[in-house]
């Protein structure tokens, strides 16, 4: 009985470690992705460019979603995000 409990504890501890490592690895991947995309700390003169990149990513996804009639919620939220980015782009252009 004692052995079974302790084996369970060992297994749970191992699972926690694996989950922790998976979490760390995922965090590292996110960090790398954002760093490579120049989005961790956007330089002052690159905001307009990053807004354009984001718009393009949304438009690409919207293109995919147009073939679907069931992803209405995602399509609507993507369209709303696109409108926000357009507004921000115009505001940035006014200051250039």
């Amino acid at each position: 009985m004692t052995i079974r409990v302790s084996l369970t504890e060992v297994r749970e501890e191992a699972e926690r470690n694996i989950m922790g490592k998976a979490d760390q690895s995922e965090k590292q991947q996110v960090w790398t992705l954002l760093s490579e995309a120049g989005l961790v700390d956007i330089p002052t003169d690159e905001f307009s460019e990053r807004v354009k990149d984001a718009k393009k990513a949304i438009m690409d996804r919207l293109g995919e979603l147009l073939t679907s009639t069931t992803d209405v919620e995602e399509r609507d939220s993507a369209a709303y995000s696109l409108a926000t980015l357009k507004k921000l782009e115009i505001a940035l252009q006014r200051r250039e």
């Binding site: 954002l34 956007i42 002052t44 905001f47 990053r50 990149d53 984001a54 993507a78 995000s81 980015l85």
Partner: protein, 131 residues
């Protein structure tokens, strides 16, 4: 110092409630400030200083745990919409994201990072088939 929007799935041990002054990397090197609040953003946490500057957690120096992150799928539709409304209203008010360590810059940076992660992930997901 106040910690806002605590989430049950993430229990950061840092910053402790006693920490008042932080050192962080700034364009000119390093700087210090008094922390008023730590606030969750769309991707990472921001430290709001008492003079209004906003410093992302990954720029804070010192011994602490690695920054905690949120996944795009953890952001609700309401939270995203509220964030977008706030950005639009800051743009309307004439704020400039090129102003260092200011709320508009901090919020726009997080929004662009979040948007990138959100749609990068979605790109690998085929749209649902028509019925």
């Amino acid at each position: 110092m106040r910690l806002t929007e605590k989430r049950p799935d993430v229990r950061p041990k840092w910053p402790s409630e006693e920490v008042q002054i932080v050192t962080f990397t700034s364009r000119g090197g390093t700087a210090t400030g008094v922390v008023k609040e730590v606030r969750w953003g769309l991707v990472w946490r921001d430290f709001i200083l008492d003079d209004g500057r906003v410093i992302p957690e990954h720029k804070i120096l010192g011994e602490h745990e690695s920054p905690v992150w949120r996944k795009p799928q953890d952001i609700s539709q309401d939270e995203r919409a509220a964030w977008e409304r706030r950005l639009a209203s800051m743009a309307d008010a004439g704020l400039d994201p090129r102003d260092e360590e200011q709320p508009f810059r901090a919020e726009l940076n997080q929004y662009l990072a979040y948007t990138y992660l959100r749609f990068k992930e979605a790109r690998h997901k085929p749209p649902a088939k028509q019925t």
